[in-house]
């Protein structure tokens, strides 16, 4: 028995169908004006106003307790909202990370004060979070982290550099993974997580890292004897590794792992409309079948999370297979339609294609490289 089991996802209940319809109307109302090129930014679009609307309508912190501003809905209902957001290319950047992983980490490990002050504001769409994990010398090898936080009375003094922090220049907080004792040679031991206020931390400088598309999403955060209040410790000092693994499990479980390039599929279909091209139809058919099955696997993961089952392996499979789908889509499109991608054009197809060509390489790097994920899956199969 070596197969990694994916339980059949539940059939959509009337409540789920109603939520889907209601949320589609919400998206249409607030985002109906967006161009294909804008929609193709998918989850790396950032729009504070939209996130506030999401919060107001009750679509953030959906599964959290009402005590913390949540709505006590099911993980599966949250899944519907997330996948519809992505399918619409909604600019989710200002609430995405907080709703997906920072909030759940705070619920799991935070103090009462942290929960009371941060969670209601996340659920309202007011607080944007970033991820403070990678460093110049520790990417996939997270345990080699060097950023150091030294306790000094009622503060930590933090020194070190974090990279690839999406929206650090816009966001309000990051959860910083750092070393509170020992050296990188101690690996998993002696690490902790701190809540860092990006707008209000003396000694922290944030510098842009411009990606190959010329866009500013990534940042470098440089901490030089930066002061972080000791009460901002998340969870227990020294427990950072277990906590960060739990955070990564939230990060890897969603449908964003195959919907990043979905706008290109829509535009490709528009271009193919009216063509009598059997080979093109067959290609669209195969891609659609792959997508439908990825969706089913992803819904299985959502159902497992709903039942409080560990879905780490399953999520790694969805992310691995899903990244191949979203990443190879431009190549399939190029086999069917001749068009020179143009990042500055107003033309829908060529503009979307350019945006996808620019960004697709990152999708098998973010949130765990393809190689790391395959290693995790292989370990799950019992090979090491």
């Amino acid at each position: 028995m070596s197969a990694i089991p994916f339980p059949a996802p539940p059939l959509d209940s009337d409540e789920v169908l109603a939520l889907r319809t209601e949320f589609r109307a919400f998206l249409d109302k607030h985002l109906g004006h967006r161009t294909p090129r804008q929609r193709s930014d998918n989850w790396y679009g950032f729009d504070r106003q939209f996130s506030l609307e999401m919060g107001k309508a009750g679509y953030l912190g959906m599964t959290w307790s009402k005590q913390y501003g949540g709505h006590e809905r099911s993980a599966y209902e949250r899944y519907v909202v997330v996948e519809e957001s992505l399918a619409w290319g909604a600019p989710v950047g200002a609430h995405w990370i907080a709703d997906r992983q920072s909030g759940p980490s705070i619920i799991k490990f935070g103090t009462d004060e942290q929960k009371e002050t941060l969670l209601p504001r996340i659920a309202a769409g007011e607080l944007a979070f970033g991820i403070g994990m990678s460093e110049p010398d520790s990417g996939s090898d997270l345990a080699a982290t060097r950023t150091k936080a030294v306790r000094d009375g009622d503060v930590y003094r933090v020194t070190g550099t974090k990279v690839w922090t999406s929206f650090a220049h816009e966001a309000d907080y990051v959860i910083l993974f750092c070393r509170t004792s020992g050296t990188p040679a101690d690996r998993h031991n002696g690490t902790s997580q701190l809540l860092v206020d990006l707008k209000n931390t003396p000694g922290l400088t944030i510098r842009p890292i411009i990606d190959l598309a010329g866009q500013h999403h990534f940042n470098e955060m440089h901490f030089e004897d930066a002061i972080v209040p000791a009460k901002n410790l998340l969870g227990r000092e020294g427990d950072g590794w277990n906590q960060v693994m739990s955070e990564l499990a939230f990060e890897r479980s969603g449908p964003e792992r195959f919907l990043s390039s979905i706008e290109l599929m829509y535009q490709l279909i528009e271009v193919l409309k009216g063509r009598e091209d059997d080979a093109a139809m067959a290609t669209i058919g195969r891609l659609t079948a792959q997508l439908a099955v990825l969706r089913r696997l992803s819904r299985s993961v959502a159902a497992m999370l709903q039942n409080h089952q560990d879905a780490g392996l399953q999520a790694s499979i969805v992310k691995d297979v899903g990244a191949v789908w979203e990443q190879t889509l431009p190549d399939f499109a190029r086999q069917l339609v001749d068009a020179e991608p143009d990042p500055r054009t107003a033309a829908a197809y060529a503009g979307v294609l350019a945006n996808i060509v620019h960004n697709a390489p990152s999708w098998s790097l973010r949130g765990g490289t393809r190689e790391i994920l395959r290693g995790i899956i292989a370990r799950g199969l019992g090979t090491r």
């Binding site: 059997d278 067959a282 079948a289 190689e371």
Partner: protein
């Protein structure tokens, strides 16, 4: 429980010699008798119809198991034919049965005539659930002769049948036999891939080269991860197809069937490569699975047939209608 019974039956009664006989085109009469004795032909029917009243999950498990055990008899086809015949209100099969669609057949003076291509084990079936247009016929064995021999990639017989039959059992078609067959094959493919993954894990754990088991190499581990991914996709695809068949949604069947067909090729390729040369021989059981995967992925409407059907629907839905269509598959 049914799964355990199936497992026990074939582990007991299906050995290498029997597999070799089937590969030679020989019908395994004694084994088929055991299949009937267990009641497997009616397994997909409700209890009121003499079946087992299985849940969707149990049905899927049983069908996958037929693939996982490389059963060289048309057990799945017979189960599916009976499900279709029951839905149409026609008498059930009184032995092994086949599924086919042949729209070019003609009816003259109450006689159904024409050739049906590549029917699995056609010589040995008791009846055929045959769709022509919107009609389902239950053609008994006396209604056809063998027109031409044919063989699948796994060497099981796929003869062409010449139908000449005075119609005495017909009904409006409840759903297409190709959709039924494609759904069965999706499950068998998933089952065979599970067997292939098991074998590949075992082989790469025990085969030592350069002083260590193959699977201690990262490059091998990554191929195993990909194979596990193909298995996950095939299993999900089979479930998707089964649910779609239940609500007579041909596009959902297309989606599930297509992804399973694709997984068959991808998975068989990885498993063979990871076994090295021994996987390319009849000395290792892997070939039972790979040759069946290469058989099943092209049956009951080929990949192109289903891909065009689904692709055409997707393009007709248009850019705005595409996602809503996907969420209904």
């Amino acid at each position: 429980m049914l799964a355990e019974m199936i497992q026990r039956l074939f582990e007991r009664s299906l050995d290498d010699a029997a597999q070799a006989q089937a590969r030679g085109g020989q019908w395994l009469d004694a084994l088929w008798a055991e299949v009937e004795e267990m009641g497997l032909p009616l397994a997909l029917l409700g209890e009121d119809q003499g079946g087992f009243g299985l849940s969707a999950a149990e049905q899927g498990e049983a069908l996958m198991l037929l693939g996982k055990l490389a059963v060289p008899l048309p057990v799945a086809e017979t189960m599916g034919a009976n499900r279709l015949l029951a839905k149409a209100g026609l008498p059930l099969a009184d032995g092994a049965a086949g599924l086919a669609r042949a729209d070019h057949l003609t009816v003259e003076n109450g006689i159904l005539k024409g050739r049906v291509e590549r029917v699995a084990w056609g010589e040995h079936l008791s009846c055929l659930a045959l769709a022509v247009g919107d009609t389902l016929y239950r053609v008994p064995r006396s209604g056809w002769s063998l027109a031409e021999a044919g063989s699948a990639v796994n060497f099981h017989p796929r003869p062409a049948l010449e139908i000449a039959w005075e119609i005495d059992a017909q009904a409006p078609l409840p759903h297409c036999p190709l959709a039924e067959g494609a759904t069965l094959r999706a499950h068998q493919i998933a089952g065979a891939l599970e067997a292939a993954l098991d074998m590949t894990l075992r082989h790469t754990a025990t085969r030592v080269q350069f002083g260590k088991p193959l699977q201690k190499n990262q490059v091998v581990q990554h191929e195993l991860a990909k194979l596990a991914g193909e298995l996950a996709c095939a299993t999900a695809a089979a479930g998707l197809a089964a649910e779609a068949l239940e609500r007579s949604d041909v596009l959902g069947v297309a989606a599930g069937s297509l992804r399973a067909r694709e997984a068959a090729g991808n998975g068989a390729g990885i498993a063979t490569q990871m076994h090295g040369a021994i996987g390319f021989t009849r000395e290792h059981a892997l070939h039972l699975y790979t040759t069946s995967l290469w058989t099943w992925r092209d049956e009951f409407g080929g990949q192109v047939f289903w891909a065009r059907l689904l692709g055409k629907a997707a393009v007709d839905a248009g850019g705005d209608g595409y996602w809503p269509m996907v969420t209904q598959l």
